[in-house]
Subunit: 296 residues, 2 copies
């Protein structure tokens, strides 16, 4: 069996590492935070002091990091994966970062014989714990096929989208649509509730209409009961929208709606809801329109 290195033991990385250990893999970890490292070391993982050391000991490396800069640092800079990586290593980057940076890293690592897959996930921490994530993968098909048995311990829907960057592009398209859905739900509910409709009745009616969406089904009741416990954090979604707009700038694609949606998310963050669920953009419209969608 492959030895798997896991770099980044946050909300997503830690449960992924645990699932792989439970599946019988030898796991070596590296993370900036001590607490999760100690937790998985107690369960039998080895610890590597740097990404470089981790790369010396693993032929499959999974990264789960907050942003492009963090992935670049871990992959390409001092004590990074590039320095230590063995031939035929596959790097599975599950972070949502900008596709340009990802392709650049893939190209540099490729010169060292490392094949990189961009494999952003969705499904939140609950999905990572249950192994039911959906994983959109870009990169060489042979590398994808080689690590598919590993990915199957982490996710339920695993789709190879094409060459490097296509997993991330799919994720960004998803994030554009999801964010727009939440703002649309916010505007629809703000208007309806200000006109006197009961929020819960309105949500229920909309679920039976063309307005139906997974966002509405999963978050409608939470929105009307004011439960913004995060399954996906607002600040992380802002980062994804920022990457989408950045990528659109590079490719020359006008995104007028995403641009407004992004600003609404920024406003919700500025209002102090950055650590709430991404659907908390709805609360911004409660303030803007002077209505209470949440039952108190």
């Amino acid at each position: 069996m492959e030895t798997i290195g896991v770099i980044g033991l946050g909300n997503m990385g830690k449960p992924m590492a645990r699932r792989l250990m439970q599946a019988g893999y030898t796991v070596v970890v590296h993370s900036r935070s001590r607490e999760p490292v100690e937790e998985v070391v107690d369960l039998g993982a080895a610890e590597a002091p740097t990404p470089h050391d981790l790369a010396l000991n693993a032929n499959v490396i999974i990264t789960s990091l907050p942003d492009s800069r963090a992935v670049e640092l871990v992959c390409l800079e001092q004590n990074g994966i590039r320095e230590g990586a063995r031939q035929n290593t596959v790097l599975i980057d599950t972070s949502t970062i900008d596709p340009e940076t990802s392709r650049k890293i893939a190209s540099v690592l490729g010169q060292r014989g490392v094949e990189m897959l961009d494999a952003p996930v969705s499904g939140g921490q609950a999905g990572a714990i249950a192994g039911t994530l959906s994983i959109m993968v870009g990169g060489p098909e042979a590398a994808f096929n080689r690590v598919l048995p590993i990915l199957k311990h982490l996710g339920r829907t695993i789709t190879h989208m094409g060459p490097a960057g296509t997993g991330l592009m799919t994720k960004l398209a998803n994030q554009i649509i999801v964010a727009a859905n939440y703002v649309a739900i916010a505007e629809g509910l703000a208007l309806g509730v200000k006109a006197g409709l009961d929020p819960a009745n309105l949500v229920q009616a909309l679920e039976g209409e063309l307005a139906q969406s997974r966002c509405l089904e999963l978050k409608g009741d939470r929105i009307t009961s004011g439960n913004y416990e995060p399954t996906g954090r607002l600040t992380l979604h802002i980062k994804d929208l920022y990457y989408a707009l950045q990528t659109a700038r590079v490719l020359g694609v006008p995104l007028p709606m995403t641009s407004i949606v992004y600003q609404c998310f920024e406003a919700a963050n500025a209002a102090g809801r950055g650590n709430w669920d991404h659907s908390a953009v709805v609360t911004l419209f409660e303030d803007l329109a002077g209505v209470k969608i949440r039952k108190l």
Copy 2:
């Protein structure tokens, strides 16, 4: 059995009249266009020369008209329903008009003993033919209960939302969310396809993600195959967005995203796609981004 008057025999009104005749009701019709009138008269309907005459002969009246002005005209002006209506008549207005106008008409007709229900429908012409529309109803509960057996011949999901105007408010919230979904799908696909993804693969992946929506499921394949045969016409959706923005102005609800979405729909109309399906807003982004999402 009640005698039912049907005013407006367009894409929606004509199949509704036919279904009611098939269900055994005596139906009297009025419409500006000769052709559909002759068609239903051949099937056994009576014709009324004016809404006034129709109101003299029916205790339930269904209107299916293109906009607020048309409903106002038929209800309140010369030779209109108000002049002819009998006591205890129920008017079911299935048109999507602005809620302010609807409430005004309801109030004026109320003084003549006519109870009005705002009962906008969704499900398109196919739904009207099959009797599977969904109908969102506002207005007095007693009137709703009285005509429910009639509505059941027309629709499958029939929901009483509250007092006058609440059916329309629900419909407008629906239209806000649906329009936003199509623009979001357009932006997501334009970005992904310009980055090199295959449109059909991208649609399929998104359907399995949080981006899932009824819009994507019903129209995804049509969008990637370039089939914009209308189930709901773009120009009609523009009218609905306009009413939503007008209502938001009256209620003091900021709708920044709907405002941009509306402009995108106007742009698609200006580009000559007004009679295409409302999802044809996607083709605007093909032009804007210089990508082909449609397979040729």
